[in-house]
């Protein structure tokens, strides 16, 4: 088997909060993601999904542990790490004053895509994502659906082998969300390694090849949907998620069983 495109070992991030003191937002996470795979991070808000992905994109520094993207370690070689990945989330906005085409050119340039191939790459992206009609309009004038297309195109502008989608559908309407999922699946089929975080169970069920259930900063279980079903005896991902979350909180599980036992 070839080396995974993304790998983490005991990845940990602690924050200090005045009200709560030291908080382990991510606690010893191990994960891998290989070419042609969508790896889902499933967890509630505050579970540590975004923090994990931000460490992988080198925006946050791990407190301890290691993480590699295409063999480059996030702390030792952050530029190479970022050059090999595209990061998409609801909070990665576009520059309003430049056109769609200029946006793609800008991100190809800052990501050091070979200069002589930039223009042809832009044309390819414009065709592929259906941007042609508004390629020369300023981003601020585009509808949210159009912006979404430009946003995905800029994420892959430099053709990175690894893509990170951090709750990408969170602010989208149903149709745009479906379209985005189709695009992500297509990118997987091209051989990209895709990390996908969500708190929507159905989305993870549909899209992810492997799912990690993350709760309070820890990965509680990893596997394909079938493996997770087998391990828990539950069919729906929602039940599977609740199952693992209970195991994690023994006190809560005990309370729950007490409640159940009561006549």
């Amino acid at each position: 088997m070839t080396d995974p495109f993304v790998q983490t070992r005991n990845l940990t991030k602690t924050f200090y909060e005045e009200s709560r003191g030291e908080v382990r937002a991510v606690d010893g996470v191990d994960l891998t993601c290989s070419s042609g795979e969508i790896f889902g991070l499933l967890g509630a808000n505050g579970a540590g999904k975004t923090t994990t992905l931000r460490m992988l994109s080198t925006v946050l520094r791990p407190t301890s542990g290691e993480a590699w993207v295409m063999g480059h370690e996030v702390r030792k070689d952050p530029e190479r790490v970022r050059g090999n990945l595209g990061f998409y989330s609801a909070s990665t906005a576009l520059y309003p004053k430049i056109t769609a085409r200029e946006t793609l050119r800008f991100f190809a340039q800052v990501n050091r895509f070979p200069r002589e191939r930039i223009e042809s790459r832009i044309e390819d992206l414009i065709d592929r994502f259906g941007i042609r009609d508004f390629a020369d309009s300023r981003v601020e004038k585009l509808s949210s659906g159009m912006k979404q297309k430009v946003s995905i195109a800029r994420t892959v502008a430099h053709d990175p082998p690894v893509l990170i989608f951090d709750e990408p559908t969170v602010a989208l309407d149903v149709l745009n969300a479906i379209e985005l999922r189709q695009i992500i699946a297509a990118l997987r089929d091209e051989g990209k390694a895709i990390l996908f975080s969500t708190h929507i169970m159905s989305e993870a069920e549909q899209l992810c090849d492997r799912i990690a259930i993350i709760h309070q900063g820890r990965i509680l279980a990893v596997g394909t949907l079938d493996e997770l079903r087998e391990a828990t005896g539950h069919h729906y991902l929602e039940e599977i998620f609740v199952h693992f979350a209970r195991v994690r909180d023994p006190e809560e599980a005990e309370l729950e069983s007490l409640r159940r036992d009561r006549p």
């Binding site: 200090y16 909060e17 808000n45 925006v59 906005a93 576009l94 004053k97 300023r138 708190h199």
Partner: protein
């Protein structure tokens, strides 16, 4: 440094964004371009209008007093004499109005000036029974017999103010003529002017004069314009990107942090430089082509090679200004916050540029180590033809180093997880102490504004009122307002805790030691920026006027400032800032803030030093009381010393310094005092930033 593709891409993006945003374009480019011509034209217009208005200057004068007839006869001569004789001012005529109650008419505005002519005896009697204003001159034996002319006017009305001015000069002239005629009549051989002729002749070459004038202002004008121009794009760039969410996108790209900062810095520099260039062209166009006539004072010829040298000299200053603007933007979390920080930043940048305007500053002094100020002085010397290459090169290097340090800070700032992702929405809701900590800088700024407005607009002659209102009211009210507004706990916000009793020994030793140390700092400053002696003397008089009894001085100069200033600075200001810096940074910062509230430039270093000492004491003891007692004793000792009431202490020390031996001794004693306080320390709680303040998100 190599201009990599990402740097060029980021630079291009910034410039493109600027050119496509009408608002930013207006603020940063159009406004500054229009501003100078507008000011020049407006100035020109006002001047010509004033000239026209005063061409037929006609003042209504009422004459009063027992020598009124004598005054009227003089006035007739004044009216004849001023026409054609006074070449500098416009011609003025005085229309004598006869009135029953001239003073009432003056108050009503029916007349402009009252000329009150009194016999000496009448004057003395008048002063005694209060019907006549004593005026500035005390009655003495020499004045006996001389009639006294008083010009009464209302300074709030332009016509009255100018009437008084216009009347005074010719009356003095008439007096001179009259004196000469008396002298000549009694046998003095020549008119008094001929006894000793005095003339001043300027022999400086015209280039040096123009250079001196331009050199003093050039740095200030250019830096001011560049800062204004660069600030719009700077706020938009990092702070604006944080707000819009594009910084997150950019930070996940392969561009290095250094490249992002370099690209943005170059964009700000380009805009700042372009604006400066346009302004110079603008000035040249308007002044050189005489579209606006400013009397030739600013029409300066600069040869091309000197202009090029100037450009090279200013380069690190431009980089530093741009870097500071970018850093401000990096520290702000939103566009609005960045704009908020800009005012103090602009001031801090422009102040050193104003230093070359002060007389007696030489480049071969410690000023060489002050970025921007050193280049300003270098440029001034250069324009005056005084070129000292090693100094100029050092000045260039120092500013360049400062610029590179600031750039480095920018790179660190966009790597700082707190600044990048800090989510403060929770604090926003809980309000109270957390909210105050966020807004404390704004409140300090507001207080500063209030204090400035107060001090410069409400002239209080009497020191007692000045102390009671300008210090006691302002600094006493501020903590109360803040505590009420943010619902703070007074005991914590004002550090109302009792320190360890042992601390007081340190305070008693520390006060005199602190005074000696501060005087040493004053001497140090004096060697860098020589403080005019008159200024110190007038300051000393203002602080401890002879007319006020000593016990009152102790109340108004020592007790009131000691209590209220401590409540503000070592109370709420320190409390609000305590999380932003470590203990050392906090002491320096609060000290500096304390310093800049004493507006006179020469007092800032000394008061800031005292401020640092007082803050350090508060931080070590966790209590405001030692600093309060220290402050009161400090001011009290200074008052007593200035009145020569301390045995063995020379009042001259306060204005002339104590000599280095005493200062160093004072510093050592201060260290001992602090060692004592350290021994009994009960540190101020919750100092320094919590390691990471990010709210965890999934």
């Amino acid at each position: 440094m190599r201009l990599t593709v990402p740097i060029r891409a980021i630079f291009g993006l910034e410039i493109r964004t600027l050119l496509r945003d009408p608002r930013t374009l207006l603020i940063s480019v159009v406004l500054p371009i229009v501003l100078i011509p507008a000011i020049l034209i407006a100035g020109d217009w006002i001047e010509s209008r004033e000239a026209r208005a005063s061409e037929a200057l006609n003042f209504r004068v009422a004459v009063d007093g027992d020598r009124a007839d004598f005054a009227r006869s003089l006035l007739l001569r004044v009216d004849d004499g001023t026409r054609g004789v006074e070449e500098t001012g416009p011609t003025s005529r005085f229309q004598v109005v006869d009135l029953e109650r001239p003073r009432e008419a003056l108050t009503d505005g029916r007349i402009d000036v009252v000329l009150q002519a009194l016999d000496f005896d009448t004057w003395i009697r008048g002063v005694e029974d209060g019907s006549v204003d004593p005026g500035p001159v005390e009655p003495t034996a020499e004045l006996e017999g001389a009639p006294r002319f008083q010009i009464l006017f209302h300074s709030d009305r332009t016509s009255s103010r100018e009437g008084a001015q216009n009347l005074r000069r010719p009356l003095l002239d008439v007096r001179e003529v009259r004196r000469d005629s008396i002298l000549l009549a009694s046998g003095f051989p020549v008119p008094t002017d001929e006894v000793l002729a005095v003339e001043s002749i300027n022999v400086a070459p015209p280039e040096a004069m123009e250079g001196a004038l331009l050199g003093r202002f050039l740095t200030l004008i250019l830096l001011g314009l560049m800062t204004l121009g660069g600030s719009a794009i700077a706020t938009d760039t990092l702070a604006g990107e944080k707000e819009r969410g594009t910084l997150n996108t950019l930070l996940t790209s392969a561009a290095r942090r250094q490249e992002i900062i370099t690209g943005k810095l170059l964009a700000i520099m380009a805009v700042a430089f372009a604006i400066a260039l346009i302004q110079i062209l603008n000035l040249w166009l308007f002044l050189g082509l005489e579209i606006v006539d400013v009397g030739g004072a600013l029409a300066v010829r600069i040869p091309p090679e000197a202009a090029l040298l100037l450009l090279v000299l200013y380069l690190p200053a431009v980089a530093l200004v741009s870097g500071v603007l970018l850093l401000t933007s990096a520290y702000a979390r939103s566009y609005k916050e960045a704009q908020l920080y800009l005012t103090p930043v602009l001031l801090a940048l422009v102040l050193p540029a104003a230093l070359p305007m002060l007389p007696g500053i030489s480049l071969q002094s410690a000023i060489l180590l002050v970025p921007i100020a050193n280049l300003g002085v270098a440029v001034r010397d250069l324009l005056m033809g005084d070129i000292h290459l090693p100094s100029i090169m050092t000045a260039w290097l120092v500013t360049a180093l400062a610029a590179s340090w600031v750039t480095r800070r920018c790179v660190l700032a966009i790597q700082d997880e707190n600044l990048l992702l800090g989510d403060r929405s929770q604090e926003e809701h809980t309000g109270g102490e957390g909210l105050f900590r966020r807004q404390v800088l704004v409140w300090i700024l507001v207080l500063w504004g209030v204090k400035i407005l107060w001090d410069f607009n409400i002239p209080v002659q009497d020191l007692r009122w000045a102390s009671l209102l300008g210090v006691g009211l302002v600094f006493g009210l501020f903590p109360l307002v803040v505590i009420r507004r943010f619902r703070l706990e007074p005991r914590k916000a004002l550090a109302l805790r009792m320190p360890h009793p042992g601390v007081w020994a340190g305070v008693l030793l520390g006060v005199p030691a602190g005074i000696l140390t501060v005087l040493g700092v004053f001497q140090l400053v004096d060697t860098v920026v020589p403080v005019p002696t008159e200024m110190m003397e007038s300051l000393g008089q203002a602080m401890t006027p002879e007319a006020i009894p000593i016990w009152q001085l102790l109340i108004f100069v020592a007790l009131i400032p000691g209590i209220t200033e401590e409540l503000t600075f070592r109370g709420v200001v320190l409390y609000g800032l305590r999380r932003r810096f470590g203990a050392v940074g906090l002491a320096l910062m609060v000290g500096l803030i304390f310093g800049i509230f004493h507006f006179s430039l020469f007092r800032i270093p000394t008061t800031a030093t005292l401020g640092v000492i007082l803050t350090a004491v508060t931080l070590l003891t966790g209590s405001i009381f030692p600093a309060m007692v220290w402050h009161i004793l400090n001011n009290a000792l200074a008052v007593l010393a200035s009145r020569d009431m301390l045995p063995g202490i020379d009042a001259e020390w306060l204005s002339e310094g104590v000599g280095w031996g005493w200062s160093v001794g004072g510093l050592l004693a201060l260290l001992v005092a602090f060692a004592i306080i350290w021994r009994f320390r009960t540190p101020y709680p919750e100092v320094g930033p919590p390691r990471v303040r990010e709210t965890v998100r999934g």
